[in-house]
């Protein structure tokens, strides 16, 4: 279930979404968009997305060492966050 993410992560998600939509992305493809960020920042960024369940991660078929990232649909994310909030307020 998706959770809220920090503002700086949201800003970067917007840029990626604008460029790639829900297409499969490699780390290098993400670096090409987030040019202000170094490898460490992008790694932490992806970690935040993974923890908040905003992104699917799978192994690359060409190279098992590499990962493929796919952003979840914004509508699905918002529904999940809303559902989480409703569940929290009921409990």
């Amino acid at each position: 279930m998706a959770n809220a993410i920090p503002k700086w992560v949201q800003e970067r998600v917007s840029k990626l979404w604008k460029k790639y939509d829900s297409k499969e992305m490699t780390f290098e493809m993400i670096q090409n968009v987030l040019t202000m960020d170094d490898r460490n920042t992008i790694s932490v960024f992806l970690n935040e997305l993974r923890s908040a369940d905003w992104i699917e991660v799978k192994q690359s078929k060409e190279d098992a060492r590499k990962r493929i990232y796919i952003l979840k649909q914004p509508n699905d994310i918002m529904l999940e966050i809303n559902s989480n909030d409703n569940r929290r307020s009921k409990s």
Partner: protein, 372 residues
């Protein structure tokens, strides 16, 4: 300004960050202060030529550099810096800035010689502990050093964050609360020894109870920009490891090669490192243009009048100093308001990267350091 008392005001339960109140003969201030070090003092001197006010800062430091030509310490400028600090009611602390090689080769006799060099010059007299000094040896040496001090003088022990890890926590625990100021040689938080010792420091610092007397930790000589950690500010990084006063490394043109000096002199504004308050890290013009659509470095330089007496590079460094201090004040206000510090810090790129790469992996280990 004389430090009369340092007390713990608050401790954040989650992060173990400590807020300290420092009482002096002319007023009070909180910890987490970026010191006016060599470069900033030079900027103040330039501003004074134009009758412009100096910076509002309670602590001034003077880093003494080694002169390889004369094979001795370069004490030029010490008296001027001290007079300026006294005139402006600042705590004044000095530091013999050594290279890694000098630090590794440091012997007790060198430290004693340096102590004696400045014994008659300052009220807070520094003593650099060699890297392998044990607690017992330190106690023995300290007794002799204290007997040399006048009644109005204080000893400032300076211990390296690369000190022997068996002795480091014992010496810090021995000195905390006894020495008003303890210096910590700081680098880039890049070696296991540094991380271990800084973790010990944080654990010991956070165990002092509220209203109990404690010591001020001053980080000397760290890198202003920690590039391997997404170019975050060194002042922020070390403030997360019990740093109360932050005094960055002073550059010594006498130790730089001609090529390095030439590169520095010919640097363009697009190459200046600018402290981005939104991202909480340093960046340069090109990435700023790509991200914000604006050159923040150039815009900032344009906002400062030439009547301030500063050149473009000085303006950027002074603004960066001011913004770093503002961010450290933010951390203090979060501690006072009992906000969730780590959750707030996660909202900023640079701080989040530092948390994820350094602080959070260590936080579980810090709880295991309860014996300290």
């Amino acid at each position: 300004m004389t430090i009369e008392e340092v007390k713990v005001e608050a401790v954040d339960e989650n992060s173990r960050f400590v807020l300290k109140k420092i009482k002096t003969d002319v007023g009070e201030f909180y910890n987490r202060r970026v010191a006016i070090s060599n470069f900033m003092f030079n900027c103040e001197q330039d501003k004074m030529l134009y009758n412009r006010p100096i910076f509002n800062a309670p602590v001034q430091t003077h880093h003494i550099n080694w002169d390889f030509l004369s094979n001795g310490w370069d004490y030029n400028g010490l008296t001027t810096a001290k007079e300026h600090a006294e005139k402006n009611n600042r705590v004044f602390l000095i530091y013999h800035q050594r290279s890694d090689k000098q630090m590794n080769e440091l012997k007790l006799k060198d430290s004693v010689r340096d102590f004696n060099d400045v014994l008659d010059s300052v009220n807070d007299v520094p003593f650099q502990l060699p890297l392998e000094m044990s607690l017992d040896k330190w106690k023995e040496v300290k007794g002799k050093l204290m007997s040399c001090l006048k009644p109005n003088q204080n000893l400032v022990p300076i211990i390296s964050s690369r000190h022997n890890t068996a002795s480091f926590p014992l010496i810090v625990k021995e000195e905390i609360g006894k020495s008003k100021v303890i210096g910590i040689n700081s680098y880039e938080i890049s070696t296991p020894v540094e991380i271990t010792n800084l973790s010990f420091l944080t654990a010991i610092n956070s165990k002092i109870k509220i209203n109990q007397e404690t010591s001020l930790f001053i980080n000397f000589g760290y890198s202003r920009i920690i590039r391997r950690l997404s170019s975050i500010a060194g002042s922020f990084a070390f403030s997360c490891f019990a740093g109360d006063i932050l005094s960055e490394r002073a550059y010594n043109p006498k130790t730089m090669s001609r090529d390095v000096i030439k590169h520095m002199m010919n640097r363009k504004p697009t190459e200046y490192s600018y402290y981005d308050e939104i991202e909480k890290k340093f960046n340069k013009s090109l990435p700023q243009m790509e991200w914000y659509g604006a050159d923040l470095t150039k815009e900032t330089m344009g906002k400062v009048s030439v009547a301030e007496g500063l050149n473009g590079y000085q303006v950027i460094k002074c603004v960066s100093h001011f913004l770093q201090q503002r961010d450290l004040d933010l951390i203090n206000s979060l501690i006072i308001s009992k906000s969730n510090l780590f959750e707030t810090m996660k909202n900023y790129t640079g701080w989040n990267v530092f948390l994820n790469m350094v602080m959070l992996p260590l936080s579980s280990n810090q709880r295991n350091l309860s014996e300290f």
